[in-house]
Amino acid sequence: MFFHVSLEHEVLLHPRYFGPNLLNTVKQKLFSELEGTCTGKTGFVIAVTTIDNIGAGKVVPGTGFVKYPIKYKAILFRPFKGEVVDAVVTQVNKVGIFTEVGPLSCFISRHSIPADMEFDPNSNPPCYKTKDEDIVIQQDDEIRLRIVGTRVDAADIFAIGTLMDDYLGKLYT
């Protein structure tokens, strides 16, 4: 699910950037440090929308860096258990389907795929399909899945999904 949240961050600025363009550099540093990252608490930071306030910088004793506390707003993406999301298939395997929901990787185990869909290793590319070939899921297809569980690493989130519910599976647009 997406969130638009006010957060705080501290940027350490090397003295080489001291000059007239200082604040700009601080903003750039903020963007590069945050956008595209992920933490367990916030989830994925998709984009920083506004910078509300850049506080007074303080020189860190011993290193010479200056610490700026910044208040900003950002768009976050955080998966929740039970959430239904649209995903793109990245790999089809005999153990299941690997998908991506934006920055999030989601794996659908073979046991969470409806029994009528079988893995066909012989087709090119390999896919999951029903017996009458009514539904075929292969790489780069869009599917809708439900997130069953999430695991949060240091800087990453990994999810497990399922297709075993109504209205889940391949999307036709």
Binding site: G82, E83, F98, S105, S109, A115, G149, T162, M164
Partner: protein, 443 residues
Amino acid sequence: MHLFHTSNKITNFVPTSRDTRKYNMSSTAGKSDGELLTEIPDELKKLAKYVMRGFYPVEHVLIVDLLVRNVIMKDDDLAELLKFDKKQLRIMLNKLKNDKLLKSTLRVETQADGKTNRHNYYFINYKVFVNVVKYKLDKMRQKIESRERESTSKALYRCVNCDKQYNEYDTGDLMDFMTGEMKCTLCGAEVEEDETAAPEKDTYMQIALFNEQMRPLFDLLKEVEHIKLSPEVLEPTPVIVSDAVRAKQAGSQRGMAGWSGSNRPNYDLYNHEVTINMGGENKDSQENKEVKERPRWMVESTVDGAVTEKETTVGSMESKQTAGANSKSQKQDQGEIMRALLVHERKSGGKPNIVAAALSENESDESASDDDFPNSSSVTKRDERMEMDEVDDEEEEEEVMVSVRGQMLPFSEVTEHYVAEMTPEEKDIYIKLAQEAYAAMHD
């Protein structure tokens, strides 16, 4: 929708607008909220029945059904009505008590003859019942949820080489997207699915199935949520029911059970006069029944020489009625025996005078002792009828004729010579008669 339902606790039920509507409706029906109810509302009874039928075997269902209908009963009553073995019944009652569905109080009664009886009186405390049901349903739901959670964290993948187990969550780390295979982080060998740890297919659907199947119970629980019962209803006092009334009630209950719903109150229990009968009454009805129902063809046997049923029953009835006078009954019995012997003797061909003398002796004896007895009019009548039957019997005996080539001969006079002369049909008839007589003789 149950998208984000992480804790769907039954007890945290917040009434929606739909439910408050139901709430208001029941309050306008006469039971205002906050007031203690003195009668068990139908929803509670329905809930009890639903719960029992859903989770318990049929014997327990019957026990609770009876207790729903009669507020409180003792174990003997239950055994009598259900026709259960007392030991079995006690086992079932203890199980229900351990499950906290029933409660019991011990009551010591002193009977008329001074003996003290200790009886267990069983009843349903509906407040506790509802709480128990909520608790158990909640526990079930938790168990299913935890099982579902565990199924996702079960070790499903195993390294071929070093046997290290992996989770579904690890697949992201293990998967090598170039080759499309999973590589073990320790030894680099391929990781395969573990067949032995394959998850059950339906753990996933179980929570949905549980919610689906328990929905009527959840609805009933919502309805009974606001019911408050008065203390008298929650802890009923045992009612002493006398034996005769209990028997009557049991009979009427069995009759009513077929075609009346549980809603009909058991008037027999509350509007009755206590009458204690010693048992003579029952017998009277029984005897009347007997006298009425015996048709003529049953009374008089079509077989030669058989002792008529009417004689024996009349004799036995008489012996009952003359409870006091043992001598008379003995004489009656003797008379019967004599008559039976006579009948058989006569068949063999003789008409002994002794027999006639004995008969007349008995008759005189009977008439003599008849006078002794006050209510003897009916008895004498029966005597006369008996004698008449006796005479009939003898006449009948003489009348049984066998035809030999068209000629009618009495049965006793048919000899082998005559048998040889009979036509085949006549012989068949003769053989049948002979067999019947033979059987009667050896009865």
